[in-house]
């Protein structure tokens, strides 16, 4: 029910309409590029001209592929959006009916509506994974939590798996490291369709590893360090060694995270006040009020505590690009992204928080979805 409450069918339909419009526009752009290409055949007949024709044809193909992906997914998002709206209306009607005539409504009536919603959501999820995998570029494996500690022989001699190994074979068991075909070009962080690895999705189904929300069965995960921002920060800080960092001792509460952020270099007024001014639409020289700083901090904290999805995203700073753990928060119609250093001397500390543009949002997803 909470998932249905969160879902917004109208937004999904609006996104679908935007994708359909984009498809038409990209088709027109593709036509213009094709027109130029055809003209150039006679206008620029040389080796360099022919190289240009090939280049333009590649661009046309890319636009055609993106257009096809958009129009296919627009239909599916719209269909799910309609299911969401219908389910919400049906549940509301059943609740109203239950008030007026309690005996006429049973739990199974509501369950049936919710099941339709969940069936639609699962179908959409499958389509998104399937069509997403068709896009160019290698598929990354999510960063798994560390394996649970083994016995003394494992500690002393290792267990034969690459560092951080956590994935399963097609049978749901850990593959035998002696028998598994790692391939000549094995890369630990990349999904190899020829040697697929598996994990579990949120419904407990064994799925290709890049689709896995829970890489290992829950009972094993609970015995080890799980995912989630707070645990990742603690892990990053411990990995950074002796450098002082509040993240090393971070617990699981919002208070811990708030204390960590306040003590981080990224929270210094000369840096964060600029983002707070942007968030509250203040002039560049306007003073930041204490309540603004507290409210902004609370939004950052809530994003870190509640968000289930952590992206890795490079942050460009004075010392070059640095990997960060980033979380998104959508609140009152606006996005906020908050970032924490994943490595380096400040590993585990708060880095920054700001309102991203739609392009920045997409680029954050790109880093998580393409290797």
């Amino acid at each position: 029910m909470s998932r249905l409450n969160h879902a917004d069918g109208d937004d999904l339909i609006s996104a679908a309409n935007g994708m359909d419009l984009a498809y038409e526009r990209f088709w027109a752009v593709r036509g213009r590029v094709a027109g130029v290409r055809v003209d150039l055949v006679s206008q620029w007949d040389s080796a360099s001209g022919r190289a240009m024709l090939d280049h333009l044809e590649t661009v046309e193909n890319a636009l055609a592929q993106v257009g096809a992906a958009l129009t296919i997914m627009a239909d599916k998002l719209r269909a799910h959006g309609n299911v969401v709206n219908t389910a919400r209306d049906s549940v509301r009607d059943l609740v109203v009916q239950g008030y007026t005539d309690p005996l006429s409504v049973t739990d199974s009536d509501i369950d049936a509506v919710l099941q339709d919603f969940l069936d639609s959501e699962q179908a959409l999820t499958t389509d998104l994974w399937t069509y997403g995998a068709l896009a160019p570029g290698a598929i990354p494996l999510p960063e798994p939590p560390p394996r649970p500690p083994g016995d003394w022989k494992t500690i002393l001699f290792g267990d034969g798996y690459p560092a951080g190994w956590y994935w399963l074979g097609e049978d749901g068991e850990y593959p035998d490291p002696d028998d598994f075909d790692w391939g000549d070009d094995f890369e630990p962080g990349t999904y190899d369709p020829d040697n697929p690895l598996y994990g579990y999705d949120e419904w407990g189904n064994l799925v290709p590893a890049y689709q896995a929300g829970m890489p290992v069965p829950m009972e094993v995960q609970e015995a080890s360090v799980g995912s989630g921002l707070l645990k990742l920060l603690g892990k990053a800080a411990r990995g950074a060694g002796a450098t002082a960092s509040g993240a090393r001792a971070i617990g699981q509460s919002a208070d811990d995270l708030a204390a960590l952020i306040r003590g981080s270099y990224g929270w210094r007024p000369s840096h964060i006040d600029r983002h707070i001014r942007e968030w509250y639409r203040l002039a560049d020289d306007a003073p930041v009020q204490p309540w603004m700083r507290e409210e902004f901090l609370e939004t950052v904290v809530q994003a870190g505590v509640r968000q289930g999805k952590v992206f890795q995203w490079s942050l460009r700073g004075e010392s070059g690009a640095q990997s960060t753990y980033s979380v998104l928060r959508y609140t009152n119609g606006r996005w906020m992204v908050s970032q924490y250093y994943a490595s380096g001397s400040r590993a585990g500390e708060f880095a920054t928080a700001f309102e991203p543009t739609a392009r920045q949002l997409a680029r954050m997803l790109q880093q998580a979805a393409i290797r």
Binding site: V36, R50, Q122, L124, W129, D201, Q211, L361, L365
Partner: protein, 112 residues
């Protein structure tokens, strides 16, 4: 097609129309500019499902995966078109320095 009388793509000749190439470059540059606006509009719309789907659900991760991968390909298009425009304009300028009439026919030396 000028001197290309049956030689196909292996012809040792080049045949260029400099003015038309400049027009083509302008058309490509204009197309790239239009595409920027179209992509911005789409980016706004494509972000909506991230707010409309529960962030701890698989469907959220699946949408992030789908849009992350396809938006990356989309973002290659505009710079590629702009680069094509610049290259075409640059090539037209280069040819013009050879023949100010705007149309040249050169016989290139045989390779090898």
């Amino acid at each position: 097609m000028g001197l290309d009388t049956g030689g196909g793509y292996d012809t040792p000749y080049i045949d260029v129309d400099v003015e038309s190439m400049r027009d083509a470059a302008e058309e490509l540059a204009g197309t790239a500019n239009r595409l920027v606006g179209h992509v911005d509009d789409l980016m706004e719309k494509a972000a909506l499902p991230l707010a409309a789907l529960a962030p701890d659900a698989d469907v959220y991760r699946a949408y992030a995966f789908w849009w992350g991968r396809w938006s990356a390909l989309l973002e290659t298009a505009e710079p590629a078109i702009r680069a094509a425009a610049a290259t075409t304009a640059g090539a037209a300028d280069g040819f013009t320095t050879v023949d100010e009439n705007g149309r040249i026919e050169l016989t290139l030396p045989e390779s090898g």
